[in-house]
Symmetry: C2
Subunit: 358 residues, 2 copies
């Protein structure tokens, strides 16, 4: 066997070593080993490397997958790591080590931290973003909101994941209008605020977004697929991944995927430049340690794969911005939604946010 992908699982079971073997087989051959031909057993069967039992906690199991099983595709890597086992209980993916060759073969981020900073013209300070919402606003209303936030000094105006092709602001009407409004604001400020519409992941919407003047797109891999991140990256511009519909994997401590592996490592390898996740202290359940682990997984050295930007959101506020900057550091996209719309003057609120983070 050549190089291996090492996946670390927490396994909750009476006999974790036996269960570990079942996981290795399920996630590679999905066939009792005695029925597989010799060449497949030799080349493509996953193996349990170690089982560490821990009193009162799930056992820690490392499984080696022959690297070729991933086929160089992010979607297949996910099928491999947790596809079928996601339908069983008691198995949680908590760490992952991919060989350098696979890291190079996977799409990865096209821009990463440095590329996003170059686009928005901010070489070192924290990056500020908002979500254009709510759905139900007209294209003109959304364009006004984007303009105000760009004039106020935000770097990224992303659309809310709830925006699609609804009648109030159809995609082909909305995207050029908002792009134009942001472009005019940039001309006024001399800044380079980036507008990122939500796309469904098809080539058609990607092309239209960039032709309309968007500087990137919002992709929802939970519904659009993980390959959509790479397609968006190939189309050019900033790729922002939104966690909508991915929460099934983070809901249970004895199941799914640790948030840092999912929102950090896996989305980075699949091609996100910016990974949105719900930060602690807002409306969602991740704690401080989990959030900082996501940020670390997004940025730490990974076989030459560019570091990417964690984007904590989910009920953040201007008042908390200094605390969050202190915790996450400046290579972060701080995503603040509702709090910018309080008081009815998003431009001024954006300025206050920028001031709070200087």
């Amino acid at each position: 066997m050549g190089e291996a992908i090492a996946a670390v699982y927490e396994i909750t079971a009476e006999d974790p070593a036996a269960r570990a073997v079942l996981v290795a087989v399920e996630q590679s051959h999905e066939l009792p080993t005695e029925l597989a031909p010799d060449n497949a057993v030799r080349d493509s069967l996953a193996h349990v490397r170690t089982v560490v039992e821990r009193p009162g906690r799930p056992a820690l199991v490392t499984v080696d997958f022959p690297v070729d099983l991933a086929g160089g595709e992010p979607g297949q890597l996910l099928v491999l790591l947790l596809g079928n086992v996601s339908l069983q209980d008691g198995v949680r993916l908590v760490d992952l080590d991919v060989p350098a060759g696979l890291a190079a073969a996977l799409p990865g981020p096209r821009l990463g931290v440095a590329g996003v900073r170059a686009i928005v013209g901010e070489p070192e300070r924290a990056l500020l973003a908002t979500a254009l919402k709510p759905v139900g606003m007209t294209s003109a209303q959304l364009a006004d909101l984007a303009r105000d936030c760009a004039l106020g000094g935000l770097h990224i105006l992303k659309e809310d994941q709830g925006l699609a092709n609804q009648p109030w602001a159809p995609f082909r009407d909305r995207v050029p209008r908002v792009a134009e409004a942001v472009s005019r604001a940039n001309a006024e400020t001399g800044g380079r605020a980036a507008y990122l519409p939500v796309v469904d992941g098809t080539e058609e919407q990607l092309r239209f977004a960039f032709e309309s003047g968007a500087q990137g797109v919002v992709v929802i891999p939970g519904v659009a697929g993980f390959g959509a991140l790479a397609r968006a990256g190939a189309a050019g511009g900033i790729v922002l991944a939104h966690p909508s519909f991915l929460g099934g994997f983070t809901a249970s401590p004895s199941h799914g995927i640790a948030p840092d592996v999912l929102f950090g490592t896996l989305l980075r390898l699949a091609g996100a430049d910016v990974s949105v996740f719900p930060s602690w202290g807002g409306r969602f359940g991740l704690d401080r340690a989990q959030c900082l682990a996501i940020a670390d997984a997004a940025r730490r050295p990974l076989h030459g794969v560019a570091p990417v930007l964690p984007a904590p959101g989910g009920g953040m506020s201007i008042a908390r911005a200094p605390e969050l900057l202190d915790a996450y550091g400046p290579d972060t996209v701080f995503l603040i939604g509702a709090d910018l719309q309080r008081g009815g003057d998003p431009r001024r609120a954006a300025q206050r946010l920028a001031a709070a983070l200087k």
Copy 2:
């Protein structure tokens, strides 16, 4: 407000009525209502219709979503129903009623039960399928296995979800070879066994699969995206949805999506003709009632959307086939993998399976 999508959630919370309002807002505006413009509040805000508290059980909450919020897209429908809330605990989608207009606008199955039966030439009996596996076999080995199963009388030879573009049997080498082997077997038997390779959801692989002689494809919406089902349907042939990587939604009883809503209603509306799920008594955790509810959701009347085929799998056996036929009825794809390879004669095992179900 016009027509509404009625979503029923089980909500586990101290004050379920208050939590229900938070869910309705999170899943539509994602913004405190007092900050939204009047036109959005009027047209696009979701509303709690009823809250039924039940002693010792989660409250049952019905939320009405203005139908236009889904934008006629399956991916956006999922974002709407559970996107952000999937990242919180205590909310489970357990039923769904879409208006006729939305059912018609969503892709839906192109073939459904009748169309799949027409392709495989089996007007009324139970449909029999196997998974070509394990990964690691060469294209020639997989072609031999497919041929044997077709000669033995199976209707559908689907690839295992673990097959992708790996070096042992690269996609562009494997698909034409297996298609050719099945075609030769069909010529010999006079049957019409269908071969369904796994595709990554891109137009390129879809086109190649059908040009190579496949009669359909396996799509993994959990990684390829839900829009991939509709793209596959538009390309022609049978669309089989595989549940890999969707298990996050079924792992916890207080979270996620009830299996019948996910594997039945939602995948049917998104365009699956056949929906694979792990049946009871195998290696996975769904119970008998959940499995039969999936089958019912796949086939029951739904505003003129064609009924589709439930495909129970996940450790099924020839011995259990009569019991399963009795439970699921004939409008079912019985998916049996390893048990056909036991004994080293898949053709004969397929014949025994066919005989057991006659």
